[in-house]
Point group: C2
Chain length 263, copies 2
Amino acid sequence: MATLLYTILTRMAGGAIEVMGHVLPTAFGLLGEATLSERSSRSEVVYRLLRQAILEQALKPGTKLSEDTIADHFKVSRTSVRGALVRLNAEGIVDLRANKGACVAEPTLEEARDIFSLRRMLEAEVIRRLVADLGTTGFKRLEQHVREEQAALSDHGPLSIRLAGEFHILLAELTGSQALTRFVREVVSRCSLILARFARLHSPECAVDEHIQIIRALRSKDIAAAEKIMLEHLDAVELRAELNPDKAEPDISEILKRYAGES
Amino acid sequence: MATLLYTILTRMAGGAIEVMGHVLPTAFGLLGEATLSERSSRSEVVYRLLRQAILEQALKPGTKLSEDTIADHFKVSRTSVRGALVRLNAEGIVDLRANKGACVAEPTLEEARDIFSLRRMLEAEVIRRLVADLGTTGFKRLEQHVREEQAALSDHGPLSIRLAGEFHILLAELTGSQALTRFVREVVSRCSLILARFARLHSPECAVDEHIQIIRALRSKDIAAAEKIMLEHLDAVELRAELNPDKAEPDISEILKRYAGES
DNA sequence: GCGCCATCAATTGCATACGATAGTCGGATA
DNA sequence: TATCCGACTATCGTATGCAATTGATGGCGC
């Protein structure tokens, strides 16, 4: 497991890494002046890289995140790594068990449905607000994003997975509500974990088409229609996750609970 | 300023039990996940104490949170304090500016309205879910909580402020949705900050009465009525905050922006 | 052969130390 | 006298070292 983590981190540090439009330096560059002048603390950089690795499903749910391993590969001290892990834990995408280390969170089926339910509510609100007052610059940004998604289709990999999620975050940002954006960002992150854990495969093509439909619905200024499209899209995403109890990988603790008489 | 922080922290540690050679407050209530585990790392303890101090409005928005000062008073190292501050920052109740230290977040008027808007949406959902399936044990817990609120009325202080907020968190918990609880917890926390910053005075009596009405509405199983009561309650809370731009304390940077031609 | 207990290695939690950064105060100069 | 500049101090960001806890391995008794 540690070997896998090692491999992934090495690969991530291998080339230039782009996060939210900003290019992050590689692991070797982390110690350079460029990073510090960009006002990115080491802790911040580690946070972003780990988050990216998790959201791109390079680090899968359950993967152990050893402080030493991460620190070694990013050429920073464990202190910086710990800071990043605490933040990720606060966002719910990393589990932090006392004295036993951190690992990528493993949402249960129950949590998965819970998250999707909340996500529908939040994003329906996003749509309602955007129909009310999304300007031309907003549409331009959305279309630009979709173009990026399409360009990433050939990639069939991490990039398109991330962009699919970031489309929804961008929608939330365009409402101008920081709090709403924050919550949407969190449910989208969790959904990435859920998909990584339960979904058979990621099919970005559908998502991009559906995103285009959402933009079109927003243009039409028809709240009901737009909301409907968004909810259908989210249903489609959830369907891809195959959240059927019988099909899904069983959660051991849930099963043993029954045998332990904990009801 | 440091003296004030010192005084507050000392007072908080006053009526407390001692654990691990360090002071813990007696009643955590819903603050943090205290009930889940007996494990109390130093960082965890600092986190809970600071959070409590902020939510009880002992530490007011804008108060500088010097790492050294906090570390000295809780008899821990700055490392533990930093961990706590990072968590609080992730929850949005502490601002963390690079190389300039932490301070209690100061929500702007705009953010305040934003938060209240989102809070209405989230808590309306809570009510809808509770009307659907709130059992007798749930009602018992709610009534018990209201009794505590009433008992704390004479206090006229921090306790009643905290309990008023925790009533809403308890409602969210009773839905059984972890994610919903998490978000409600966050908006309620932010609202405490908002009230601390803008409200003239806290009047717990009204709140308790309104909480009783909410419970009654839940009993009636009338979704529309229950939702209406809740929204009215939140309106009342917001009204108490007096979020009128003209009355509110001006935000200096906002004002200076205009004069600096940043428009 | 099987299960229990002690010792050990690995990893985390915490504290301290050091270098870096931002704000402050005093002096020099126009 | 007012302004600007430089040193200083306080505080933060990071690294490193040590203590504490956990999980594992081997030995012992049954």
